[in-house]
Amino acid sequence: MKPAVAFVCGLLFAVGLAVAGMTQPSKVLGFLDLFGGRWDPSLAFVMIGAIAVYATARALAPRRPLFAAAYPELRRRGVDRRLVAGSLLFGIGWGLIGFCPGPAIVALGALVPGSLVFGASLLIGLAAFQVSDL
């Protein structure tokens, strides 16, 4: 049951990203281009919509998940150097092209030109972290 639900979630997530406009890197960059005089605030509405639904669901969630024994214990750690450095690197990459991981993977399914190069590099970046001993 878990993989079936996960598949549906992935599908729904992909449709949401596409409807939201996040599968258009130019639109993402239009949101990040705060100082160009032509700011497109649309993606703020994506955040508002997603957070509204998810926060509500978390507040009303049943005591245990439907298909798992328990919710994971989310570790309470403070803001550390890894979080800051990683978010910094991510922000640079995001601002250069306009793809974050989700939309980049969805674009792979649409065979968008350039998405294969970006997607492969993204995977190499993830794998590099895996072997980096960090």
Binding site: R38, P41, G49, A50, A57, P65, S87
Partner: protein, 143 residues
């Protein structure tokens, strides 16, 4: 403001769908819908932990194919040389894994529960993304 490209309704509806997908994954499977973590941990999965991750990624890719078949204009190619795509992809992959999350895991799921780490991460990658665009477009590129 760029009102020609402003799509508040579509973006809000898209956001609601994203939130719904993340909510379903939490309530049914007890998992956080963080794309970086879901994909990253596929590279060295714990026993019995790969199936749902593969299925989720399959849904993302399948969803991309489906939307493209119905509405190809939902997609646009990234602009930039192959070299720039490679550099950006590496930075996004390595950076999000180092930070333990990206726009979905930190920006949506973490911010929703007011996690201090996720609030900090989101503030940083937003500010750096905005700065990067400002520098690339208005100081270097002139686009």
């Amino acid at each position: 403001m760029d009102l020609a490209h402003f799509t508040p309704i579509a973006s809000l509806v898209g956001g609601l769908l994203i939130g719904l997908a993340a909510a379903l994954l939490w309530i049914s499977n007890g998992r956080v819908a963080g794309i970086t973590g879901i994909v990253g941990e596929l590279l060295a999965p714990a026993r019995g932990d790969a199936g749902w991750r593969l299925a989720f990624v399959g849904g993302l890719v399948g969803g991309g194919a489906l939307v493209h078949a119905l509405h190809p204009s939902a997609f646009a190619a990234p602009r930039g040389s192959t070299g720039l795509l490679v550099v950006a992809g590496l930075l996004v992959g390595f950076g999000t894994r180092l930070a333990n999350g990206c726009t979905s895991g930190h920006g949506v799921c973490g911010v929703s529960r007011l996690s201090p780490r996720s609030l900090a991460a989101t503030a940083i990658f937003m500010a750096v993304g905005i700065s990067t665009v400002a520098i690339a477009r208005h100081l270097v590129g002139g686009a």
